[in-house]
Symmetry: C2
Subunit: 877 residues, 2 copies
């Protein structure tokens, strides 16, 4: 039997997606379950491939099948394509297996010509409607199928309207439209070199070919390459008879959701217009009516429609977004699809569907897009308030949430004003580590410079604090303590509001609504945790962040950056003293001052975490970061330390580096200054002993050595840690266990992960640095080209936001395999920012990681992503 | 039959190295061929392993074998250990399979005790000699076998000499020595808690155990780990009867080479002392005599010795370094080994041995240490002159060679004075790209700051120019144009001399000898080229370097860095104009000015290379490197360009980066500013056409895209190059072929080398950057810790000098395999500095590379290394 290339809607089903495309399968499915769908047929994806296999010719055999199906359709509808009596009009649409931008748009009203337009006029008793439809068809066909630029037609319309003094298209008379049709046909002839095709079958075949051709237009090819969609899938073509909602008062058109897409409330939600076409709803000239009023206007139709929506939801087991048209008192369903919804609605719908037995808990979990949870985890502006607010500028959405406060231009002012409970925003050209205190106290942060990975952005995300970064439109005048933008000046102490999810800055104090993580959110996350097979920890450097992370479900700390503890005001002098020491003795003296602070830090963390594990990373960044950044601060320091200003300047220059990212940092510091490592090891163990003595449960601290590129580094530092720790433990009556491991963040560490595993108890992937070194991209500098790379599709995603699985992922995979090959019980985790990005979480799960760690506010996202990964591919227990 | 653990010298041979160790096998071999070797026996490496397998006890069975062999030795020698008549004395030495520092030293005179010392005195008729030998033995045994610190014994000697007013040990009388022996025994008892062992067999067994123990001392373990020597090889122990050259005028001792180790001349070369021990020759108190005088003093012995040396050379087929002792008119050979020699001698000896049919050409090639060739490729100081010269300071040996000249403190002064033929040296705190012109003209370069990979060092090596870098002792006062060191001031215009191979700086104009690459050097390099299966190219950016590389045997250019062409004085204004352009049009205008220069550059190179291939790398470094570095230069530029100083400053700040190494450079520039790439492609193709029109043979230019991390980058830039090039070629009547490929210098490029190969004609490994990113080491900053890493053995070698095969090498291997997997004909090369380092060259050969490329002066080294790699493991043709 020869292959079948064309399927009537009644011959397909939703399972035939690969043959009929998404749209075709859906129309067939609705037909199958008895819904009133305007009938038609689908030309298969195989026909498209056949077209390409035959030098872009639609073979006779397929043409024959198309004609047979067309005849069948004409018979069913009692209409005839091109007829002057009862003309059949059809739409032509592309329909690939995966929805794909760049493919051909819709052509409506196909079948109209100089003859059938008269039939349509007669049949609908509406000559204006008929000619308006005809001119629309000419325009759409020329543009979409024949690539005649749209503006050539628009120019004619504009000219006519201008000359007649019309305001809108609806003012055009029948006579106007008739002459426009003639002019449009002239344009077509001029551009194409042939008369506008009067033969409807020719119109149809040209349109079908146009759909096939659009499969291989450049945009579609690029899209497929980026999304790994095979080139040989092909596209289907759908031919569907037209229905009209603008045939009078017993006609209409509308859109409805089976539930409220904002809240998830289980109540039909939607709107419609009587005597209108879909375009009219979109154009917004007339105000649509609420769907509930249809019950009064057309009770029969309403009842039928409600029944259909309920059936559709049950059939597809999800909230549906349904398009319908009423033609002369008869209801048609044009489309149904899973409805887009807010995070809140998504959760409510999913839990409700589970409760009503329609879907399983696993299905409910798979229904929620993890990143969408962001909406719920941060405060947002009240919708009404934001509509009224005055938008001042737009920057980068660096850290989500909404925040309002009086603006201050340095950390000290923020701290001072925050003391009295005043709400403040920190506004800076860009932030530096010295601003930390102010960032902690402020409600939100606004910077003029810096990208998504600038200091302000990274630190704010870590704190879960709202931040708009790189807002270049705003001139920040730190000296005069004011900002200027577009002629508006906002001075210190005046209110601004920031939306860190949008990157927008508003004047004044815009009203907000809070975070609500109870009810169905809790229910769903409970299911998530039941399913999940990978732990989720948090990156937290202090008890405040740790507490908020536990609230979000963190099961431990995956990264405690000890250097963040060094910036506080009362410590920085001792830190600087340590750095500027010229001898081991001097350095040890300074470190002795820091020891009590660090011990207290760890003690506090052990108390908050109360038995949950903590991974503590030893000092990582280049020492010069801690030094004063301007002469004034340097002078003050010189005075405090009793050394000369010149000496301090010289040391700062000595410590400066060409490429600090690749410089004297991480474990390299512990190799050259082992006494720093000794102090930190002491502080960890003593803090643990103190906590234990007070009855706090303390999980064995995980001591993490950063920036290891060579097994010997870890071997040496491990010895220092063990010597220090064991001596304290032996002299204590409290027993403390601990483990020693390393960040895997340097490419070479991945390559030698077998050798390193011999001296490591655990690995934690530092994918930020691994991405930097693996790509040769400095996060601080990549802004100059990375956006362009993503926009042009050179890279599919920003690799600092979404882990690069196919490149850097190979290194991670290699490290996991080499490490576990030597030491099967090696604990594996990730603490880069990717640990909270859903696709990266899934990748980590696939590599067999024990946990991911992310900033507190991303913990629920990571939990959900980890559960979804498990459902897709459960691990053997 | 039970295992044999002890071998008499007459029972072994040089093939039994793994059992007898290097030294034992050698003594056995000499015995076997009938040389007069003081006899003895070797305890095998298996006995050492047996010792460790049995809780560090020497089993009875082995003790028995030792005793049997000792008895046999006593019988042969007619002496007895510990006898008061005719005592046998022996030496005990460790002897591992591979020579290994950290292992036990020699113990001499074992067998002496309170009784046998008298026998020795009587036998030799020299009581002083006997007691001196005894006190030496106590000291050596205590130190080496029992770990009693040497200084405790030295202190006694010093005290006695001081109290008696003696100047040297030889002033000590017999009575002094007798009382010293008593005191030494007292020290032993105090330290060890037992009497000094009088039983010679106990002395022997303790010494043997000490050798076994030394196999596992920490230094030896670290050494084995670093050199991949298995821990289970074990060490052998050699027990050999003592002979004495200090028994009177018919005794003596000496060392001789079978040929001259400085020149290779085929004539016995050496010296000896009558009535002396080996120590005396080393101590230098008496002046040894030339070996030739022995012919008159002891004609019989001389003749016997000459015969033996000739036999040994024939037997070992190489120049020998032979130690001998004459005891009472009887000649003994104590050791023979291949003699150390200069590069010149090495070549002359090797060629001579081939000519005389003793070794093959391949063996001759394997005899030369490639790095040693460095001695020949650069001028050196006359030996007599350097002995008399005044050493001023020591820095890093940044680029080899010897140079003298009048010093100047900036490039302009160097250029100005060089015009008159004056020899100059450029002295700077550190160099920057703006100094290039001065570096070209100067004889050598001296900097106070910067390491082996600083700008000065890298550029100087590229030019083959002598450079001493990082000479921190010298205070360079650029303002006053003088240097100060140790109270000496050298002013502008005064002479200094630099030894770039040693890193030394001398006062005045020290005489030099030139480079001589004819004669046997040419002969040997001819053989090298016959054998070699991998090409050797050079890194060269201009005709001068290219010419010198061809002289050294380069077969093409493996890396032409086009940015080096941009620094010249007449071009830099246009370069800066290009960088500061705000629009594409402005940039294209500036580029149009550069085009003729670049075209000329390439045209000149094509002419010099005359048909040899050239790999041209497109612009690589961050643009801000080209901008003026101080306000003055910026102001001048602003004036020239007619824009404001503030604008220029702003643009310079905009272009500055936190981590320029990982910033906006390489192909990222071509992506954001494609017009730069267009200009360079034009210049290459037009230069080639012009050369061809003049009849020059032009190999298809290889256009190389730097810093690719993603296949799409190369795809886009390749399209730009092809469009530009093909347009020119189509409009020309001369046909030019070209290829497009990429540097592989980013880890991710290695990981995606299969995808990249689809759009690349060749790969060239940029191992400098690959090492930087793979290790996370910035070359410019790593000086702060890298030296310590190498000194402490954390890393075996500086990975910027010797390619890290086990780490970064995995990336290279992966890239070769992935690339060739997709495209078997993919051309592979290396252009990092490792391309001239012998072990790295061998690694490249093993990965199947088509060529290595290195700086001109390293080309012969790379050729030799490549030939040796081929001999070790020939490729299938």
């Amino acid at each position: 039997m020869s292959k079948k290339y064309v399927y009537h809607f009644s011959e397909g089903s939703k399972e035939m997606r690969s043959l009929l495309g998404g749209k075709g399968a859906n129309l067939a499915e609705m037909t199958k379950i008895g819904l009133p769908v305007p009938q038609g047929f689908t030309i298969t994806t195989e026909a498209c491939n056949d077209y390409y296999d035959n030098d872009q010719v639609i073979r006779e055999e397929i043409v024959k099948e198309i004609n047979e199906n067309l005849e069948r359709l004409e018979k069913e509808q009692g209409k005839k394509l091109g007829s002057d009596k009862n003309p059949l009009l059809v739409s032509v649409r592309s329909g690939a297996v995966f929805s794909m931008p760049g493919m051909m748009d819709t052509i409506l009203n196909l079948g109209l010509n100089d003859t059938s337009v008269k039939g349509l006029a007669e049949n609908t008793n509406n000559e204006r409607f008929a000619y308006d439809s005809y001119r629309r068809f000419i325009q759409m066909f020329s543009d979409v199928a024949m690539e005649v630029p749209k503006y050539k037609f628009e120019a004619v319309l504009d000219r006519v309207k201008d000359s007649m003094g019309y305001k809108s298209d609806t003012d055009l008379t029948t006579e106007d439209l008739k002459s426009i049709v003639e002019e449009f046909k002239g344009i077509y002839k001029k551009e194409i070199g042939e008369d506008f095709p009067q033969e409807p079958k020719k119109q149809l075949m040209l349109s079908i070919e146009a759909v096939f051709r659009s499969w291989n237009n450049p945009r579609a090819i690029v899209y497929r390459r980026l999304h790994d969609i095979a080139n040989n899938l092909g596209t289907a073509v759908n031919i569907q008879s037209m229905v009209f909602g603008n045939m009078g008062d017993t006609s209409g058109t509308g859109v409805a959701f089976t539930r409220n897409p904002a809240t998830g409330e289980n109540k039909l939600f939607g709107e419609y217009l009587i005597n209108a076409q879909g375009e009219d709803v979109v154009a917004g000239i007339r105000t649509p009516q609420n769907i509930s009023t249809l019950e009064n206007e057309m009770p029969e139709i309403y009842k039928q429609f409600v029944d259909i929506t309920e059936n559709l939801e049950k059939h597809y087991k999800d909230m549906q977004d349904i398009e319908f048209t009423i033609e002369n008192g008869k209801l048609y369903i044009l489309q149904t699809r899973n409805g887009k919804r807010t995070a809140k609605a998504a959760i409510n719908v999913a839990v409700d569907l589970v409760n009503s037995g329609m879907i399983s808990k696993e299905e409910a979990i798979m229904r929620i897009e993890p990143n969408q949870l962001n909406q719920l985890l941060h405060p947002t502006f009240e919708e009404h308030a934001i509509k009224e607010a005055r938008l001042l500028a737009k920057g980068l959405p660096a850290s989500p949430g909404a925040a309002s406060g009086r603006i201050y231009f340095n950390a000290d002012d923020v701290v001072a004003h925050s003391k009295d409970g005043e709400k403040t925003l920190l506004v800076r050209l860009e932030t530096s580590p010295e601003d930390i205190e102010g960032m902690v106290k402020a409600e939100g942060i606004l910077t003029a410079r810096g990208g998504m990975t600038s200091h302000a952005a990274v630190v704010a995300r870590g704190m879960g604090k709202c931040c708009v970064a790189g807002c270049g439109e705003i001139k920040v005048d730190e000296a005069n303590k004011e900002i200027r933008v577009d002629g508006i000046t906002v001075k210190e102490g005046e209110y601004l509001s920031l939306d860190g999810s949008q990157g927008t800055v508003y004047l004044g104090d815009v009203a907000k609504k809070g975070v609500e993580l109870t009810g169905n959110f809790e229910v769903l996350m409970g299911w998530v945790d039941d399913v999940r097979q990978m732990m989720v920890r948090t990156n937290a450097d202090n008890p405040r962040d740790a507490k908020s992370a536990i609230k979000f479900g963190a099961e431990g700390i995956g990264l405690c950056r000890t250097e963040h503890m060094f910036f506080e005001e009362e410590r920085i002098p001792a830190v600087r003293e340590m750095i500027l020491s010229n001898t081991v003795e001097q350095r040890e003296k300074a470190l002795a001052k820091l020891l009590p602070f660090q011990e207290q830090d760890f003690y506090d963390l052990f108390k908050v975490m109360n038995g949950l594990p903590i991974n503590i990373r030893l000092l990582d960044p280049p020492l010069h970061e801690f030094l004063p950044h301007d002469d004034e601060a340097a002078k003050a320091l010189a005075e405090t330390m009793g050394i000369s200003f010149e000496d301090i300047k010289k040391r700062i220059i000595d410590l400066s580096e060409f490429n600090p990212m690749l410089g004297h940092r991480g474990c390299r510091l512990a190799i050259t200054y082992p006494e720093i490592c000794v102090m930190q090891a002491k502080a960890i163990i003593q803090g643990a002993i103190r906590a234990k003595k007070e009855g706090v449960e303390v999980a064995p601290p995980e001591i993490m050595v950063p920036l290891v590129s060579e097994p010997n580094e870890l071997r040496i530092i491990r010895e220092i840690i063990e010597k220090t720790a064991n001596e304290i433990i032996e002299n204590s009556d409290v027993k403390v266990d601990y483990t020693v491991g390393t960040m895997i963040e340097i490419p070479r560490a991945c390559l030698l992960a077998d050798e390193i595993a011999e001296v490591a108890d655990f690995y934690s992937f530092g994918t930020n640095d691994l991405t930097q070194m693996g790509f040769g991209f400095s996060r601080d500098d990549a802004g100059k080209f990375l956006n362009e790379y993503v926009e042009r599709g050179i890279l599919e995603k920003d690799p600092f936001q979404v882990f690069d699985q196919k490149g850097i992922g190979k290194l991670m995979k290699m490290a996991c395999e080499l490490g576990r090959g030597v030491k099967p019980e090696l604990k594996l985790g990730i603490c880069g920012e990717h640990g909270g990005e859903p696709s990266s979480v899934e990748f980590c799960y696939e590599q067999g990681l024990n946990y991911v760690s992310c900033s507190p506010f991303r913990v629920p996202i990571a939990r959900l992503a980890a559960a979804q990964a498990t459902i897709k591919n459960p691990r053997n227990k």
